[in-house]
Each structure stands twice: as C-alpha cells, then as structure tokens.
C-alpha cells in the first residue's frame, strides 16, 4: 500500500532543506545554484591550502575558510552582484583571519607549550622531503606579516601590488617585508646570497 502525501513541490523542497540543510531554501534564489555556492565549491580547497600554509593546522584552516565565506554571504548576498573581485575578497579575508589566528596562538604560546595538534603528523613528515621540512620550520620563525608576504608571493604567485591590496599595506611595505623575510630565511637555512 502506498501512501502518497499530496505535498506541493515548494513545501516539499522546503521540508527537505530544513532536514538536510541544503541551500534550496534560500528565498529569492534563481533556478541555478547561488553564485556564492559555486564559488565555494570552486575555491574551497585552494583557500584551505592557503590557510594551512599560514596556520599549519587543517582544522583551523577549514574554520577560517568557512568563516570567510559566511562573512562574504552576509555582506554581499548569494549572488555576489555587489562584489567586484570575489577572489581578492576571499584571499584578503583568509589572510586577515590567519593573521588573527597566528597572533592568538603566539600569545597563547607565551603562556603554554604548543599544542600537539599543531605539529604535523609523523606520516605527513615522512612524506615531505628533508629540505622541505627545514624550509617550513624556518617559515614558522618569521613574523606573521613576513610569512603572509612569503606565502602570497611564492605560493599564490601574487604581484607586489596584489599582495599590498590583499594585506591593505603599501607596495613599499610589501617589498621591504619580503626582503627582510628572505634575508632571515637565508640565515636560517644556511643559504648564500
């Protein structure tokens, strides 16, 4: 015996979305998926990787990215019509959140030893080359701003101007910060100029 409830489609969709948390319940959404959700699926992994390079902890990195997307949605809505460059917005948001997380962590470390969760797992270490591990450890000894600039310059491949926009500093500040960071890394890694 089949019992079919004659629920209208919008009501059915709303009910399913309430139970599953899917995005179909957004009012005013067009027939396709909202632009912010497409952007989320397209950029999430890369942004999490960027955040991991900053905070070196996957859980924190994922939280940072979720918070940045939530802030973007709250401020500009689902269709992102009022945002000129969502990528730049997201990069800047991740950098700001990572900076805050690092500063909080360093403040906490002044009072307590580092948590075990922030160190890479043993199998993860084994996968890395010895040279990579040395470089990453040296990166951890830079200041927060130096690390931001190095990651954006050598992993995101941003120009000095793009880094300046993302960090909301002058181009000269980016240049001098990068120069000091490289000098410090050379000393830490025993490289010759």
């Amino acid at each position: 015996m089949t019992l079919a409830l004659p629920l209208p489609h919008p009501l059915l969709r709303w009910w399913r979305s309430v139970l599953s948390g899917s995005p179909t319940a957004v009012r005013g959404a067009s027939s396709g998926p909202p632009a912010i959700n497409e952007l989320y699926h397209a950029r999430r992994l890369r942004l999490v990787r960027l955040a991991v390079l900053m905070v070196d902890d996957l859980g924190t990195a994922e939280d940072i990215v979720q918070d940045v997307f939530a802030a973007l949605y709250r401020r500009h809505g689902a269709q992102l019509r009022s945002v000129d460059d969502p990528d730049a917005y997201l990069t800047a948001g991740v950098m700001n959140a990572a900076r805050s997380a690092l500063r909080r962590r360093r403040t906490a470390r002044a009072y307590a030893p580092p948590a075990a969760g922030t160190a890479p797992a043993a199998d993860e270490r084994m996968l890395r080359k010895e040279g990579d591990t040395q470089v990453l450890e040296a990166l951890g000894r830079l200041t927060v701003r130096q690390r931001l600039v190095v990651v954006l310059r050598y992993w995101s491949e941003l120009s000095e101007e793009e880094i300046a926009n993302a960090l909301d500093v002058s181009r000269g500040t980016v240049k001098s910060t990068a120069h000091r960071a490289l000098t410090l890394l050379r000393g830490l890694l025993g490289e010759r100029q």
Partner: protein
Amino acid sequence: MSALEGRLRAALDARARSVTAEDLAPAVPPTAMALRRRFPAGWRLGAAAVGAAAALALVGLAVFPAEHDSPVPSPPGAPGAVYPSGSPGSSDPSPWPEPSLPSSPSPLINEFPTGGPGDISPSTTP
C-alpha cells in the same frame, strides 16, 4: 629565481598538496550555513520527530480505519440485545415509548380558509 626562492616554492607546494579534497570536512555551502544558523540542529531534529509522528499517524489511519464510527450489523441468527422488560407478562416489553405520528392533521392547518377566491365575500357593500 634564486635557489632560495626555488626551495621556498617547492616546500610550499609540497605542503599545500599534502591537503587533498578527501581530507576536508563535508562541504557546507554558505547559504546552508545561514540556514543551519536559522534552524539549529535541535530544531531540525524536533521537526523530523514531529514529521515522523505525523506520518505514523497517517499510516495508522490508513491501515486501521476508524471502526467505531459505523455500527456493525449483527448476523441474522445471532441473539439480539436483551433489554430489561418492565413487568413480567406485560404486553409492551419496551421501556421506551415509541414515537407516534398524530392520527389527525394538526388543527392549525384547518384554520386557514380552504375555499377558492369565490368564497371570500365582502363584509361591507359599497
């Protein structure tokens, strides 16, 4: 590109690639994040419980229809209900008076004139 810059790029790339899509938590798009805030897990669980109870009730009504609403006719040979009789030997065993129709029409009906227009006679003459 200096050797140091090459090492930096290689190390950062290796670290980034160590994070894959499989490592990430299940995706929760921003619109769903807002929805979850609007309907927290407790509310969604409550709504699911209410929905399940309603569905069970509907299924129960469909499978077991309400039988007490319609009286079941007794089979012809079965003994009927026994009512207490008023007195032994009484000709009318039913204690309830049966409704009786009036034997004659109501007198009110006969108060109206039954004749035609010709039966009406003017009381005064001009």
